[in-house]
Amino acid sequence: MTAQPLLEVQNLRIDLAIGNARFPAVQDVSFTIEKGETLGLVGESGCGKSITALALIGLLRPPLSLAGGTIRFNGKDIQNLSSAEMRKLRGNRISMIFQEPMTALNPLSPVGRQIAEMFVLHKGATWKEAERHAIEALASVRVPAPDRRVKDYPHQLSGGMRQRVMIAIALACGPDLLLADEPTTALDVTVQAEILDLIRELSAAKGTAVLMISHDLGLIANMCRRVGVMYAGRIVEHRAAEDIFRTPSHPYTKGLVASLPLLGARAQHGQKRLQEIEGVVPPVADFPVGCRFNPRCYAATDVCHVDDPAVTELRHGGYVRCHHHD
């Protein structure tokens, strides 16, 4: 770790305003991403992982707002950038893929044009040049007959194709960091693998770092070297991917791992039934006192209802946020 990390997030806090009250939707979130690295962020919906990504690209909208911490990208604090400077970064150096490819694309604009916009915005290309680049970009995400597809509208494409278009847009300018927010959730299982392969390949080829966000621990494990597990606005466990599976430390992580269907090893060890974590993520305004996982935690004790657990560094790297971690 000699060079400075590509992205360094420290004590990120994002507030949700309801009326005049403000609630921390994300709190004390810190992580780093090295150049070309893929970091996973996993958690149930509502845990704050998506808005963390939006904060990184500067797209939080009311009622959400950045309330503290630092985001350093290539050594620069991006929260202090002017909106014009931020726009130069956005799409160009940091780009994002969204979960629902149907609604994330403008239904009234041909996909080619939506890709071409990137070249016009950031590379100073004319629309004509940009259209040509768009065809190339479509070809690079392995869309067949890209010269014809550019004229298609989003509704004429399948979900997988749309997500390829999103990837083409996101990677058009060869960004340093790609934020992939549940890029495959809305897709058929067979298509999911293709899309993930595509992201992996293209980011590797261009040296793009990826922040992979998903509720699917299996997917994350496949893609990433390091994983952060988020619960109720906090990273509760942050470790190397293989460690998470072998020795999950936080009760929540354990639950997540136990709910995974595919691991042959566990099946062999006699654990037939998939396990489910009871309950749901509490709403932001109702975070419990003490450890936020306590209402659902099998290991919760009195202390968990009183004290918010601090970060505990683990022996083999990474950390956990639990009074009773293994």
Binding site: N92, S95, M96, E100, L105, S109, H155
Partner: protein
Amino acid sequence: MAAFLLRRTLQTLPILLAVALLIFLLFSVIPGTFASSMSDDGRSVIDAQVMERMNKEFGFNDPVHVRFGKYVAQLAQLDLGMSFRTRQPVAKVLAERMWPTFILTLASMIFAIAIGVPLGFIAALRPGSWVDTVSMVGAVSGLSLPKFWLGLMLMYLFALVLGWLPSFGYGDGGLRYLILPSIALGVAPLALLARTTRAAVLEIMNADFVRTARSKGMSERKVVQWHLARNALVIVLTTIGLQFGTVIGQAVVVEKLFAWPGLGSLLVDSVTLRDIPVVQGAILLIVLSFLVINTLVDVLCAIIDPRIKYS
């Protein structure tokens, strides 16, 4: 597109037919006849024989189903019948009055669109600002005024007090005569369009693809130009199409107040005088124009929104 147009056109036919049927039935039970209306001013004594002859000539002595049969047979030949009052074909009477109404509704819609849509946009781009508050309070007030009252106020202010514009009439058909009535008629659709546009823009502002556009590093202006405007346009266009019906209905009031020689004042006159063929023809024409405008709006929407054609 041609198939789409054809389908939409075919869909309007049953509506027209149903309207024809409905208004025929409605006006077959209306009290009073054209003959009796001839002496409503008390000026001349009712001449029973003339009245009798008129009723006979206009076919009022036939039973309703016979009259309806004749009416449908006429309609099938695109014949709207003869006006009792002018004793000319209804089509000719309507043709004389179509143009002023067309101009008036067009002018008031242009007025409404040219001010209402940008106002709604500006309000939506700065929600909660004073521009937003003022324009939306203005819009809801504009929707709450009785139309003829507004027209009368405009007349007094701009014609009598300020002397800028003529107070009434069609004049030579020039723009000066058009301004006051089209403002009186246009205020309500203006207010409505401003509200709709604002709501539409606000809604689209939260759409995923706008977030995508922002994530591309686009300035807010480009977001609006490249992505938001077109999407809002579909909603605004649909509203304009539906508003057209209300406007042409309200034109009845404004035309009467401003002595504007359009279909609306013809309709009111013809109802008062029980010139039923003209009433039927005028309503059919108004419905037809409503359907044509809305088909046009649909076609425009289909051009803007490629999804529509296929659904």
